[in-house]
Structures are given as C-alpha cells and as structure tokens.
C-alpha cells in the first residue's frame, strides 16, 4: 500500500520552464491546455442543451399550431425584387459565417506569434458581431412596429382570423426568446473578444500560450452553429 514519489514530477511541474500562465496544480502546460479545452467543450455541451430545450418547445408548439406557425413565418421575410425573401436572416447568416472565419484566423495568428494579425482578426470578428446585432435591432424594431411582441404585449392588428390566435402569438414569443437568448450570447461573445483584444495588445498570447483565444474561438463557433440551426427553422420554412 505504499506510494513512491518521482523527482521529475515533484512539486507538480517545476520541470516546466516557468511559463507565467502555468497553474501549479497541472504538471505540464500541455496538461493544462488539454484540460482547459475539455472544460470548454463541456460548457458548450450545456449550452447546446440549454438551447435544445427551446428547440424542442418550438417543435411541440409548431405541431400544436401548424397553420399559424407557417403563416407567421412570413413576417420574417422582406420584399426583395417583389418576392418575399429572408433578406435580414440571410445577411446575418453570412455575417456570422464570415466572423467564424475571422475567428479561426485570429486563433491561428495567436498560435503563430503574430500579434498584430491576432488583434486585427479579433477586431474584425467584433465588428461583424456588431453588424449582426445591428441587423437584429432593425428586425426587432419592425416587429415592434407591427405589434408582434412576445406574450402579453402582443398587439398585432389584423383582420385575418388566424393572426389573432394563441398560436400566432406563441410563434413570436418563441422567436423573441430564441433569437434573444442567442443575441445575448453574441453580446457576451463581443465582451469576451474585447477582453482578448486588450490582452493580445499587451502581448500575452504566443505559441507558448494561446489558450484563451482558442477557447473563446470554440465558444464563438458554437454561437455561430446555433444560429445555423435557428436560421432555417425561423427564416426558411414556408
């Protein structure tokens, strides 16, 4: 029942050339990085389950009010060359996809000791995220103008019988909840990215240590991915 000790591993990792970011309960930086990444993936799993509940709820409500949900989708389209087309939704999708690309470029730049490029790509990602939120603001104000508000604020005037029912209002309740929760995550992402920009400008990231950039990158990709599911659900179904 004895345990032996090994000199190399004594005091947890002083065999590692002293990286200022090395946390001493990890034996090596590699172990620390791997563990951090695992932690972020676990957190992202919880995010998927969080949104998953809303997707399930949406699906169930859709089967309860199929006609109302299909008709309500029309409000998410704009008039493009005389035909209904989800313009804002499509633009936002492209914006987020490009921002995922700029994020990957930023991570890559950090991994390869290119400080200026890192900052540049992170800033670009932030700008694209702001464009996303800006378009969402435009979309939301159109809805408010039409009275298509969530829950008890629903005040849509229409002669069409269907548009006055619970089902129609429920669609918009879900629309605001899901895009709103997603929007909050985009906002948090902007905050995280800004914090990364500050640290990157201070020269904190290099090939020795780029964990925060990598992890925020993972977070950003999930935020993008959730939008990839939201987009067809809300904007493309007809």
């Amino acid at each position: 029942m004895s345990t032996t000790t090994t000199d190399v591993q004594s005091h947890g990792g002083h065999g590692e050339p002293d990286n200022p970011h090395h946390q001493h309960h990890f034996a090596t930086m590699e172990q620390q990085f791997d563990t951090s990444k695992l932690g972020m993936w676990l957190f992202l799993a919880t995010e998927i389950l969080l949104f998953g509940g809303l997707f399930v709820g949406f699906g169930l409500m859709q089967s309860r009010y199929p006609r109302e949900f299909i008709e309500a989708h029309e409000h998410l389209k704009q008039d493009v060359f005389g035909r209904p087309f989800p313009l804002y939704g499509a633009i936002n999708t492209i914006v987020l996809l490009v921002s995922s690309w700029t994020m990957v470029m930023g991570v890559n730049a950090a991994q390869t000791d290119q400080k200026k490029k890192t900052v540049r790509y992170l800033v670009l990602t932030i700008l694209l995220a702001c464009v996303f939120l800006g378009i969402k603001y435009v979309e939301y104000s159109h809805k408010f103008h039409d009275g298509l508000l969530p829950g008890m604020f629903y005040a849509h005037q229409s002669e069409d019988l269907i548009k006055g029912t619970h089902g129609y209002a429920t669609f918009f309740a879900f629309y605001f909840m899901m895009t709103g929760l997603h929007g909050i995550h985009v906002l948090v992402g902007i905050g995280l990215l800004s914090w990364l920009v500050v640290r990157a400008r201070r020269g904190e990231f290099s090939s020795e240590y780029y964990t925060p950039v990598d992890l925020v990158g993972l977070y950003w990709h999930i935020v993008d991915m959730i939008w990839i599911y939201l987009f067809p659900l809300y904007y493309l179904i007809s």
């Binding site: 029942m1 004895s2 345990t3 032996t4 000790t5 090994t6 591993q9 004594s10 005091h11 947890g12 946390q23 001493h24 309960h25 990890f26 034996a27 172990q31 791997d34 563990t35 951090s36 695992l38 932690g39 676990l42 957190f43 799993a45 919880t46 995010e47 389950l49 969080l50 949104f51 998953g52 509940g53 809303l54 709820g57 169930l60 409500m61 309860r64 009010y65 969530p150 829950g151 008890m152 604020f153 029912t165 619970h166 089902g167 209002a169 429920t170 309740a173 879900f174 909840m177």
Partner: protein, 549 residues
C-alpha cells in the same frame, strides 16, 4: 493494518506537519478568495448543512401541523396557506440548497483531488465561482421566503405556479442560479477525473467513489441546463404570459411537467449516486476486504447516469401522457432498477468473510443497505402501472422518496462526514456518541416514514393539510419519529462540533483505508501531498504486504 479505534499514537508515521490547509493562511480574505478545493469544500459544508437545518425546521413544522387534525402549533392556528408554504419551502430548500449541492460541493470537493493524487481540481477558480453562485442562490431563495412566500410545491406545476401570487419568480430565479453552481461543479469534476489522475492511475484503478462522482458530474452537466431553460420559460410565462404552459393562453401544462421531470429525474440520481459512491468506500474499508465486483460497480454507476435520462415519464403516469409513452416509461423504469440491485449485492458480498468493525461510519453504511433496500423496493410498486394508479400522489410516494433521498443519501452523507472528518479537521469525533446517534437515526427515520407507506396505500393524498380522522394515529406516530430524527441530528452536530475543541491529533489513516487521501496528513497540507504520489497497486487491496508505511 490496525484500525485506530481511539485517537492514538502515530507510531511509524510521519511527523505531523506544522502548517496545514487550515492554518497556513489566516483571515477573511484568505478564505473568501481561496482557490483551495479543501477550503471551498469546508465552506460548502457549512453552507449546505445550514440549509439542511433550515429545511429540517420546515419539516418539523410540517409534521407538527399534522400531529392533530386541529392544526395547532404551539397554541397558534396554522392555516392551510401557511401549511402549503411549509411543505413548499421544505422541499425547495432540501432539494436545491442541500441534497444536490451537498456531497459534491463538500465531501467530493475535499476528497476527490486527494484520491486522484492531484493538487486541486481542474479549475480551482471555477470551483470558487460555484460556491459563490450557491451563496447567491441561497440568498435569493431566502429573500423570496421573507419578501413573500411560495406555495406551489417544489415542483412548481403550471398553471398554478404561473398564476398564483407570491414570490415564485424570485424563487425560480434562485433555483436557476443554483443550477449553474451545480453545472460548474459537475464540469470541474469531469475534467478533473479525465485529466488529473496520478501517474499510473488508469480508469479502473480509481476509487469507486470517483466513478460515482464522475457519473454524478456527467448528469449535472447534461441535465441541469434543461432545468435552466425550463425555469426561464416558467419565469417568462409568469411575467410576460408567453403562452407555453398556461392553457388559457394556448399553452400546455403537461409540457411543463415533461420539461421539469426531464431534469428532475436525472437529478434524483445526482442525489443518490454520491451516496452510493460513499458506501463503496465505507464497506471495503470497515470490512478490511477488497471490494467485490469493482467493474460491475463502476459500470453500474455510469449506466445509472445514462438510464436516468430516459425514465422521467414515470412521474407522470396519470398526468395525461399518451398510452404509448406510459408503457415505454414503465418498461424503462424497471430496467433502471437492475444496476442499483447489482451494487447492493456487491456490497453485501464484500462484507462476506470480511473482518468487520462497527465504527460510526460503518453503522451508517449498514443502515444505508437496509434503508436503500426499502426505498428501491417501494419504487417497484410505483413503476408497476396498475398499482401506481392507486399509489401515485399519495403518502406512499412521499415515503418512497424520503427512503431514497434521506434514508439513503443523507445516511451515506453522515457516514462519509464521519469517515473523512479526521482527514478534514485532524480530530477524531466521539465514537460513543456517534454510535448512539447512528442507532437513533435508524430508529427515528423508520418511525417517521414507515407509517407513511401505510397512510398512502390507505388513500391519504400528499400535500394535504386536512385528513380523515382514521389517519390520525399514524400521523402522530410519524411526527414523534421526526422528533427522534431531530434528536439524533442535534446530537451528531453537538459531538462533531465538540470534537473541534480537542487537539489536532488524528492519525493520517485512522481507519486503514487504501485510497490515496489517507497517504497524506490529517488535515492535509495546502498542496495536498509533499511529493507527487504515484499509484502502485490495484484499488482496495487488503492483502498483507511486506512493507507498510
């Protein structure tokens, strides 16, 4: 390896280090901003035990109100509304502030890294954040009790919860915050088990306590977010009437129940798996015999975690689900009974031909075996469709879940607390008082809850303030039982606290355990181990060796 039945000499052991995690740094900030898993564990212990006290007081009030049909409490008349608040607060505090966070936050936080030969958990700052989230959630929950009241039952069924007055929204928000505390703890433990094991320690060399806590952590990470979104939807329904759960505005009350139980069924496995994990440590140690069926116990923990996600509908057999759903859920529920049975048989077989001493932790472990047997067997009555129709929503269910949540989990918790008390505090608690309290606990618990099976089968519904006269003797008996439980717990608290006034003289390994936490001093130094321990033997190996340390 002789057990030390009294605090004794440290013959052949290292000298006790002067500085340990308790006294190395001092002052409020050194505790409030600590990232030491052991200190965080102690703070969680204090917090969750305080919640246990508060929830326990509400339980005593519930039972006192039910002592007679006249509902007089110390001469004051208890109204139905007050009673409804008593049982709601009892349930909500116990489930969300005590049972779910207690073992993971306190005992596991303290012991898991030590068992793995690690210096800390994977994310120490996240660990502190979990603690703070618990504190914030607890403050919000208590605020909701003081500002107004909640009378919905801990299950918050709609549409009553979306339309009743009271501080439901604040309490729901509190639970939301507590949920994130739980998620972060689970996330931390999963990463720790994957990445911070000592050199030489493969998955099947880990203590079974770790397997149990790992399985718990997986559930915490996967199930709790669904509770989170359910609570958000509940709050939005209440505040903005979005029309998802309230039928008057187009919603479906049964949908709430599906969402709620999708989390809450796995949640009960978050409650029981840590208890089972503790028992898997106590039994081999106090039987001085290797655990029987290590792999079976490990696999059963993981399979319980997975199966727990697919049986939630058994809380809703008469709630208005489709017939097909009802049948499928009942079949799956029987499946989930098997891994629990396997564990019990393995524990018993471990005791066979052992060398068993009955110190306080072992008394609680043996109590667990019997109380969990009753709890698990009565679950069969509820999983069986035809009997469930009669028994659901009656006191039979109340008795069943108290046998598993309290008779099993809390029993194991108290046993584990005694087992690791010397490690955490450096003192040995009184063995004499420990045994007396353990016996009182067993008697008091059965006296309180065994009659409730009878009440339920005779038709007494749950959450009832009034009852037919014929039920009064059983209710009175149950109430007296609750006083015995109270006495036992009061005694336990008293002698545990009294032990803190003794000198810090506990040995490194008072019980002769084989897991790594016993290789360091009692209490441990801040960095846990002087040198990185390396695993060199299979788990629970009690075969005599040439060299002992």
């Amino acid at each position: 390896m002789e057990p030390v039945l009294t605090s004794g000499a440290r013959i052949g052991e290292r000298p006790r280090p002067k500085k340990n995690y308790l006294n190395e740094t001092k002052g409020f900030k050194s505790w409030a901003l600590t990232v030491d898993h052991k200190r965080i564990g102690i703070m969680y212990l204090v917090g969750t035990l305080s919640a246990f006290l508060l929830g326990g007081i509400f339980a005593l009030l519930v039972r006192l109100t039910l002592l007679t049909p006249q509902h007089k409490l110390f001469g004051l008349q208890v109204t139905a509304e007050t009673y409804n608040r008593f049982f709601t607060l009892h349930g909500a505090i116990m489930v969300f502030l005590f049972i779910i966070p207690s073992i993971p936050g306190s005992l596991t936080n303290f012991v898991l890294p030590l068992m793995l030969g690690a210096k800390d958990v994977a994310f120490p700052r996240l660990n502190l954040a979990s603690l703070y989230l618990w504190i914030v959630g607890a403050i919000m929950a208590i605020a909701s009790m003081i500002i107004g009241a909640v009378d919905t039952g801990w299950t918050f069924y709609t549409p009553y919860s979306t339309t009743t007055s009271g501080t439901v929204t604040l309490m729901t928000a509190a639970v939301f915050v507590l949920g994130f505390s739980s998620i972060f703890t689970g996330l931390n433990f999963v990463a720790t088990v994957h990445k911070l094991r000592a050199p030489g320690m493969g998955w099947f060399d880990m203590p079974l306590f770790v397997w149990g806590m790992y399985s718990t952590a997986v559930i915490q990470v996967l199930a709790t977010p669904v509770l989170g979104i359910t609570l958000v939807l509940l709050m939005l329904e209440r505040v903005f009437q979005i029309g998802i759960f309230d039928s008057r505005i187009g919603g479906d009350p049964v949908l709430f129940q599906h969402f709620f139980w999708f989390y809450s069924h796995p949640a009960v496995y978050i409650m029981i798996l840590p208890g089972m994990a503790i028992i898997s440590e106590l039994i081999p140690t106090f039987s001085r015999k290797t655990i029987f069926g290590y792999r079976a116990i490990a696999y059963s923990s993981v399979s319980l975690a997975l199966l727990s996600f697919i049986v939630w509908g058994h809380h809703m057999f008469v709630a208005g689900q489709s017939q097909l759903a009802v049948v499928i859920f009942s079949a799956l529920t029987f499946l989930v009974a098997i891994p629990s049975g396997v564990k019990v048989f393995n524990w018993l077989t471990t005791m066979y031909q052992g060398n068993i001493s009955l110190e306080t932790p072992m008394l609680y472990a043996i109590s667990f075996l019997m109380l969990f047997a009753i709890g698990g067997l009565t679950g069969i009555f509820l999983g069986t469709l035809s009997t469930d129709v009669h028994l659901t929503d009656t006191y039979f269910v109340v008795a069943h879940f108290h046998y598993v949540m309290m008779g099993s989990t809390v029993t194991a918790f108290i046993g584990g607390l005694h087992y690791w008390w010397p490690k955490m505090t450096g003192r040995m608690p009184s063995e004499k008082w420990g045994r007396i309290a353990a016996v009182l606990w067993f008697i008091g618990f059965n006296a309180t809850f065994l009659p409730q099976f009878i009440l339920g089968s005779r038709g007494m519904p749950r959450r009832y303030y009034n009852y037919l006269d014929q039920f009064q003797p059983l209710h009175a008996f149950s109430t007296v039982g609750s006083w015995i439980i109270g006495l036992s717990l009061f005694m336990t608290a008293a002698y545990l606290l009294a032990s803190l006034r003794k000198p810090m003289d506990a040995p490194d390994n008072p019980w002769g355990g084989t897991t790594m936490e016993w290789q360091t001093s009692s209490p441990p130094i801040t960095h846990n181990f002087e040198d990185q321990p390396v695993l060199e033997h299979e788990p629970y190996d009690y075969r005599p060796k040439a060299v002992t340390h």
